[in-house]
């Protein structure tokens, strides 16, 4: 297992796995060192992909047991999948072929969908999809995503080591406006756990410092020792570019409490490097995507976690994080998860803002398509075309 490499940022998703052994051809027995609630969800992420034996270079050869087989591809442009002839669910998949086009340009995507050259488009912010929805020719579905962009505050660097400063920064924000701007008309505000995760998320209005109060924010900043505000730098990835919209909005909003935000957008490679070396004051980043709140919480905030890049450390938080991991009972776990979020919002370690309402669009002849909240997966094994 590659999880033991110290350079692997995601390894704490699986750190509680003591051993894994193959019992027979189709069964693997995993032994944990303690109860681990997120196990099944983490195993379903892309970070737990089953790779072939060590003698096969899995980066060159594609082997898997899914409903579709990668037939040909032009990297970054187009991927063609054909039906897996011996898929374990009999009769499925119904589709013979999937043609996945990567179209970076929005105008091309929208145009191709309308002209019928594309059957399905997923993960479109509501505002952008609106004109197409209004035409009434396509079937659409709205949902909340889990892809929340947020600002990671590096608490090892001044003035962010001062909790009051962080709280003031959080309090000064008009998160609703940001969410609506992102969605082009409709959006939701996210707490530390995004709304797309359902019961694990919290109502943002209940989170401390999430409801805007500019006067109070200025006061807290004064108490923290910054009556005249200060200047601060942020780094963000340039794609996807809702980071830029968020940073633009935050810049204007923080200006009202005297804080000048200078941000710059860099390419993915630089973001990786900055994250790895913890060489930032504020980093506009996104979470590891999964259906379990653990990766939004433990991975980020536990003092010993491999994914803790903001130098966060607090014993109470640590205890809560470990407890929610161990708690198998969903109701009890939910309470713990909510408690943890409230505590993190109190400490204002990160600034979450908003997310668009997303839409998936499909032509009416596409049957059986339901989008999946975990944006990396497109479940297509139940889809068929009525053409």
């Amino acid at each position: 297992m590659l999880a033991d490499d110290p350079e692997n940022i995601k390894r704490d998703l699986f750190s509680l796995i003591k051993s894994a052994e193959a019992v027979d051809r189709y069964t693997v027995r995993i032994t944990l060192s303690e109860p681990f609630a997120p196990l099944l969800d983490n195993l379903a992420t892309v970070f737990a992909s089953i790779v072939p034996r060590a003698d096969i270079d899995y980066k060159q050869v594609v082997i898997g047991t899914g409903p579709f087989v990668l037939d040909s591809f032009t990297r970054g442009t187009r991927y063609v999948y054909k039906r897996h002839p011996s898929y374990f669910e009999p009769g499925k998949p119904y589709l013979d072929e999937i043609d996945l086009h990567i179209l970076r340009d929005f105008a091309t995507r929208a145009a191709a969908l309308r002209a019928g050259r594309i059957d399905v488009v997923d993960l479109l912010p509501y505002g952008q999809a609106l004109p197409i929805i209004k035409e009434g020719t396509l079937v659409w579905e709205r949902y909340q995503g889990i892809f929340s962009v947020h600002l990671r505050l590096n608490v090892a660097k001044a003035p962010l080591d001062n909790e009051k400063v962080r709280q003031a920064l959080s309090l000064a924000l008009n998160r609703q406006a940001i969410a609506i701007a992102l969605g082009g008309g409709e959006g939701v505000v996210n707490g530390p756990v995004p709304n797309g995760l359902g019961r694990w998320a919290m109502d943002w209005r209940k989170l401390p410092f999430f409801t805007r109060d500019v006067a109070k924010a200025r006061q807290i900043l004064r108490e923290a020792g910054f009556p005249n505000g200060f200047t601060i730098d942020a780094v963000g990835g340039s794609s996807p570019d809702n980071r830029r919209v968020i940073l633009e909005a935050i810049k204007a909003q923080w200006a009202q409490i005297g804080v000048t935000l200078n941000f710059r957008l860099v390419d993915t490679a630089t973001v990786q490097r900055v994250r790895f070396q913890k060489d930032f004051v504020i980093l506009a980043d996104n979470f590891t995507l999964s259906s379990d709140p653990d990766s939004y919480l433990f991975l980020e905030y536990h003092s010993k976690s491999s994914g803790n890049v903001g130098s966060y450390a607090d014993q109470q938080v640590d205890r809560l994080l470990e407890a929610q991991r161990r708690e198998i009972d969903p109701a009890k776990r939910q309470a713990l998860v909510h408690q943890t979020q409230a505590l993190i919002a109190q400490k204002a370690w990160i600034i979450t803002t908003g997310d668009p309402i997303y839409v998936s669009l499909a032509w009416p002849y596409v049957k059986g398509f339901r989008h999946n909240n975990i944006n990396q997966y497109l479940p297509l094994k139940n889809v068929w075309l009525d053409k």
């Binding site: 505002g127 008009n174 082009g184 008309g185 830029r244 633009e248």
Partner: protein, 278 residues
């Protein structure tokens, strides 16, 4: 004399007028703009033109008219600065290269060849990737692009003039190189320089727009015509065309005016065509 020129080149004259108007509006953007181009009005996100906001608001509730004016100031400033810098550099290189010749000329021309072998946009992209997306770097990149063509024109003219008698006479009379260059050679290169520079200006404005469009130029929230035409303005073009049309139209109008003016200037300054007049 000006009157005669205006009558002979009505289109050019009109263009000059339009250009002057655009330049004035941009230069005095701070005075002319009705709103702060950075102020975000969250109650008026993507509002159509009318009421408080003459040309509507953008995705963060900012006034499009004010941003277009400030954007013009930025785009024109970048383009003019780049042309100025590139012209000065190109002229100096061309003068020296043409006048002294020899191995210096050989090497310089090879370097210019190399730079001209790459399409401008690729050179600009490569430079921006190395230097980073900032306004100053855009000026540098565009200036670099026009140096080769400008130096080539100047060099060509210098080569022609070098053999002329008045230059030889001046040198024979003991004038220093600098004097010969500045007094006799340079004035005669002005006409082609002006023509090339005007052409280059149109190109510079469009390259700035392309770089802004790709997100490699002036960074938002600071407006420039280029970056106002990118992402959000395109994505919401159907519902909110007022975000992209003002900068787009302003840009096209400016480039059109520059092109026509340049054409008129070229007609005026081309000595061969002048024969036809008389």
């Amino acid at each position: 004399m000006v009157g005669r020129w205006v009558r002979r080149h009505p289109v050019g004259a009109l263009s000059a007028l339009v250009l002057a108007g655009i330049l004035a509006a941009s230069a005095f953007a701070a005075l002319v703009s009705p709103h702060d181009p950075y102020a975000q009005d969250y109650d008026a996100l993507m509002r159509p033109p009318g009421g408080r906001y003459a040309l509507g608001t953008d995705y963060l509730g900012r006034d499009v008219l004010s941003r277009t004016l400030y954007g013009g100031r930025m785009s024109l400033f970048i383009s003019l600065a780049a042309i100025a810098a590139g012209t000065v550099a190109g002229t100096i290189i061309g003068l020296l290269s043409g006048f002294y010749g020899g191995w210096f000329d050989g090497i310089v021309q090879r370097v210019m060849d190399v730079m001209m072998a790459l399409p401008s946009i690729i050179l600009a992209l490569a430079l921006m990737a190395v230097l980073g997306p900032r306004t100053e770097n855009v000026i540098l990149a565009i200036a670099t692009i026009i140096v080769p063509s400008l130096s080539r024109i100047v060099r060509g003219t210098v080569l022609q003039l070098r053999e002329r008698q008045f230059v030889e006479a001046a040198t024979a009379l003991g004038a220093s190189d600098a004097r010969v260059l500045s007094r006799h050679v340079l004035p005669n290169t002005l006409a082609p320089i002006i023509v090339v520079a005007t052409n280059a200006l149109a190109g510079a404005i469009l390259i700035e727009a392309s770089l802004g469009f790709l997100g490699l130029g002036t960074q938002l929230p600071v407006p420039s015509w280029g970056n106002m035409l990118s992402e959000e303005a395109r994505r919401y073009f159907e519902q909110a065309p007022w975000m992209a049309l003002p900068p787009g139209i302003a840009l096209s109008l400016t480039v059109l005016a520059v092109n026509f003016l340049g054409d008129a200037l070229r007609d005026t300054m081309d000595p061969r065509l002048r024969r036809v007049h008389s």
